[in-house]
Amino acid sequence: MTGQSGNGGPMKPTDLLTNAERAELIGSMTPSDAEGIPELHEVDVPPELQETIENAMGRYPQLRSASIPALWAVQRHYGWCTPDGIRQAAAVMGLTPAYLQSVASFYDLFRLEPTAKHRVLVCHNISCWMQGADDILAEFCEASGADHHEAEHDGANSPDGEIFVKGFECLGACDIAPMASIDQQYYGPLEPGDAAEIVERLRRGEDPAPDKDLRKRKLAGDNA
């Protein structure tokens, strides 16, 4: 068969192909160098990472359900979902790296690029926006040096590699709007000026805002 995948010749609508032509077409589209499932001995997976992933696999009736837990394990081990980490997880789970990569790229919390140590996710959804979230995000960028435009979209690292800032969709804490998730803990309501202090405290390795910790908050009806 000529012309379907190569150069020159008329293209034929795929629904008019014979079975043999269709098989040849599909064969021609599968790159022979696509990475298959890596063998464990090829990837040098750290033992504790392997153990975490295998434990996760054991908790589900079907192994593939452990994809997201495995990616969490990779992210916690390396700080972000590194290509090597994804290959290691793929080898442990018996999946292709491309598959895990496709899963990782779907979810906002998985980072596929190097990401600074401390993570500040500033909610800029409706309730937080009404309470001034845009200014809070701008202040975090100014205090850390992270690029504001990038922070509003994919997130941005501070130049010193300490702080990652990202405007985030509703984090489920509109009761403390405007708020931020800082290293996976919720803080709010944040006020103008808080960001600079929080960034300083993070750089010193301290609790970013102990008196604004959501965990200390009582039922709203009892605060009245």
Partner: protein
Amino acid sequence: MPETRVLFENLDEPGLATMDVYRRRGGYSAIETAFRSTDPDDLIFQIEESGLRGRGGAGFSMGKKGSFLPRGDMEKYLCCNADESEPGTFKDRELMFKNPHALIEGIAISALAVGATYAFIFIRGEYWEVADVLDAAVAEAYEAGYLGQNILGSGWRVELVVHRGAGAYICGEETALLDSLEGKRGNPRLKPPFPAIQGLYGGPTLINNVETLMNVPLIVSKGPEWFKGMGTEQSTGTKVVSVSGCVQRPGNYEIELGMPSREIIYDLAGGPAKGRKVKVWFPGGSSAPVLTGDDLDLPYSFEAMADAGSMLGSGAIIVGDDTVSVPELALRTARFYHHESCGKCTPCREGTNWTVKMLERVVRGEATPMDLDIISSVQENIIGNCLCVLGDAMAMPVGSMVKKFRSEFEEAIAEARDAAPGPIDVAGADEPPLVLGATG
């Protein structure tokens, strides 16, 4: 009218998240009743009799949903939807963080009722700490024999896994949740088949919200009649309402359904700041068509909100006062759905994208009043045309804002245009037009 605290009763009691304190105040007595003396069909009957409707957004009868699952020996599953990502909603977070054992008890009983051996709590990854609390509580419950093999000597088995998501609003949609739980990208599935028939791993699956499941032990202990004694005829029981936005005391309040909306917004949540008034509000999360200051006397119930052309949804009230610009609010709302659209269905993927672009033009002063008609028609062409309701969830509120606040949109267009510096610079305007299809 004050709060009616049932799920919230003494919720801030120190140590409630531990087995000891939960049991000391009568926790896990319903599971004893259920596993020792009640048969599964009777459990379903009690839940149906109570009138308990889903607290996650759709408001479907839990008992009915449970009765849809086939009987028989096939592997069945239960998923607790704790993905809580609807803007304005934060009730499940507080319930799970402070009283995780009540959820575990509700899950175990519900699993028995429908014959599920595997149960999952799908919790959004952002709630990392809440998931830690759940993990600790689940471990305690296994230890005490309320989960695992042969629960309380009944011969019945329920395994419970806390599954952390990784940041995707769409995973709160039940079929996307199932795909995500199966380790895939969270794309919704075509329905039917509904999850009750063919859900997780192809098996019958019951999916319910956190708050719904937490009501189950109470119904088993106190009876359906007690539950029906609260609320209205069609909206029984209590509801945890998340109030946020322009109010002085934002937070979660537990009320009897049917309470006047004004009392929730003003008496409980303190209303807008002094001198301000309610201009626009979402009665059930950002997916609900908006209501106005004229609608404040509506009773807060599933049926009254539906009659008013909106919905009770997840019970999240977002209040905007007279300082809030509705076109900006529409843009903020649309941006969220644009970001969260999974991209599978064209009307949603493209519709959310173009709605954002058009609203940006409105706000920047590059629109004409005719664009408002186009915005409205885009919304109409999304609704009902996708696999799931994410697109509808943008189209309904944005469409309602354009309809109810049209004059404000028109004024915003005129004002922004007057304020815009000089003629609008259209990229490529001086180049010859590109003719599509001309190959030369």
